[in-house]
């Protein structure tokens, strides 16, 4: 960073952090705002300036930097990652028998939150109004657990693990019921909850659960955070010291973003990011098609 950045450069490129506020947040480099600068959109200039640096990548999380892109577009990616990447999740829960102490709706709510390992790209959206669901848009899962007393428990034990059989219902008890040709397409055991050990309910002897669930494709979940300024929390502590206050200027580069993506396990994080970018492209394409259709009329 240059020691003395000209004022204009600073206005264009930096977000300034003052003691009591943040200045210069919005992008101002639009055509006509700065005399002598040509700010109209130039794809080649963008392609030259843009870069992505991957800092780390693991099975379920990754961290990467995007440099040279505007906040509006980076934020669009973040919003799509959080809310608009499709996944398969339990939507309808058919409760045939629930004599446990957990109410039907609470249990259904918990089941809806369990991530299901099924690649959403292999499924279609269910048509509106379709109650039954077909093999291309629905996964059927079953949860059938009955709790019984353990006849072999020691006489005076009070540990539920010894006294009862099946008293904790985990997500590993959810079984996949293939419909149609799903068994051939997906192989025997490949569709199941991502995590085995999510506790769904607790039972006591005589209580049972007999539930069938339908999973459909919908807007799913990941965790995405966007930070700014790599590894520099830009603490404003220095502004508390009066003698330093006027000498130090804290600024952040406006177009450098750190993405930290954590996946729920259904899709790998790099696949999630690619899907998010595809979603944004699909939105644009849909509107372009609408425009073309409107023009033909």
């Amino acid at each position: 960073m240059a020691a003395s950045m000209s004022n204009v450069e600073e206005l264009r490129n930096r977000v300034i952090l003052n003691e009591f506020g943040v200045r210069n947040v919005h992008t101002t480099d639009f055509p006509g705002n700065y005399p002598g600068y040509n700010d109209s959109w130039n794809l080649k200039k963008f392609q030259k300036k843009f870069r992505i640096d991957i800092i780390q990548m693991e099975e379920n999380s990754m961290e990467f930097d995007m440099v040279g892109i505007d906040a509006a577009i980076a934020n669009a990616f973040r919003r799509i990652l959080l809310a608009e990447v499709p996944t398969m999740a339990v939507e309808k829960v058919f409760v045939y028998n629930n004599t446990s102490i957990i109410q039907d709706e609470i249990l259904a709510h918990r089941l809806g939150l369990v991530p299901i390992r099924a690649d959403p790209r292999l499924f279609e959206y269910r048509n509106a109004g379709d109650e039954e669901g077909t093999e291309i848009d629905t996964i059927q899962l079953q949860l059938k657990v009955k709790c019984t007393r353990n006849p072999r428990a020691p006489r005076d034990s009070s540990d539920p693990r010894e006294l009862y059989i099946n008293h904790m219902v985990y997500s590993r008890d959810i079984k996949w019921v293939p419909i149609g040709n799903q068994a051939d397409v997906f192989g025997e055991a490949s569709i199941a909850p991502v995590h085995d050990d999510i506790l769904l309910a607790q039972l006591r002897p005589g209580q049972e659960l007999d539930i069938v669930m339908h999973c459909v494709k919908g807007i799913g979940e990941a965790v995405a955070r966007v930070l700014n300024s790599r590894l520099d929390t830009c603490s404003r502590e220095v502004l508390r010291h009066d003698d330093l206050k006027n000498v130090v200027k804290l600024g952040r580069v406006r177009d450098h973003f750190i993405f930290s993506v954590e996946s729920t396990g259904i899709l790998a994080p790099d696949v999630l990011v690619c899907e998010a970018i595809n979603v944004l492209m699909a939105k644009c394409r849909k509107f372009l098609n609408e425009l073309d259709a409107a023009e033909v009329e």
Partner: protein
């Protein structure tokens, strides 16, 4: 009661002062808009309605359904990068309705549909480039970490 203001971003051109005579009228009440059916998991259903004000094709308000800041802000940024644009902004009419009013006003008699279309194309190009760069970097990174193992 908290007044939730419809968010509108005005990017006014500093160097050129004149605002054309076109009025900013809310297009919401006049729109013959078709609302997409309420499904449990709606597939992305879009519809846009073009409302041209008066005889001047340079000022148009587009009503984009099932959209929010995600597309609105990024599209606004790219449309503003066009030197023909006098005004570009978007607002969310009401937070309970998922639609945005996207307003474009142009200078020099350019029909406003053109910068809108150009903005969409530019956004597609940006996404494509980001996707290509990202995939290339992921491949390099994976290749690198395999080489080190």
């Amino acid at each position: 009661m908290i007044w939730t203001c419809a968010i509108s971003l005005f990017s006014v051109r500093v160097a050129y002062g004149l605002v054309p005579a076109c009025q900013w009228k809310s297009a919401v009440s006049k729109c013959k808009s078709v609302l997409p059916p309420l499904a449990e998991c709606p597939p992305p259903v879009f519809s846009s309605q073009v409302q041209a004000e008066g005889a001047d094709e340079g000022c148009i308000t587009f009503v984009l359904h099932e959209e929010d800041h995600t597309l609105g802000n990024s599209l606004r940024y790219l449309v503003m990068k066009n030197p023909d644009i006098e005004f570009c902004g978007y607002s969310i009419t009401h937070p309970s309705e998922s639609k945005i009013n996207f307003r474009i006003q142009t200078r020099g008699g350019v029909p406003a549909v053109e910068p809108f279309r150009k903005g969409l194309n530019d956004l597609t190009d940006v996404c494509q480039h980001v996707l290509n760069t990202f995939q290339a970097r992921v491949k390099d990174f994976k290749g690198q970490s395999e080489a080190m193992d």
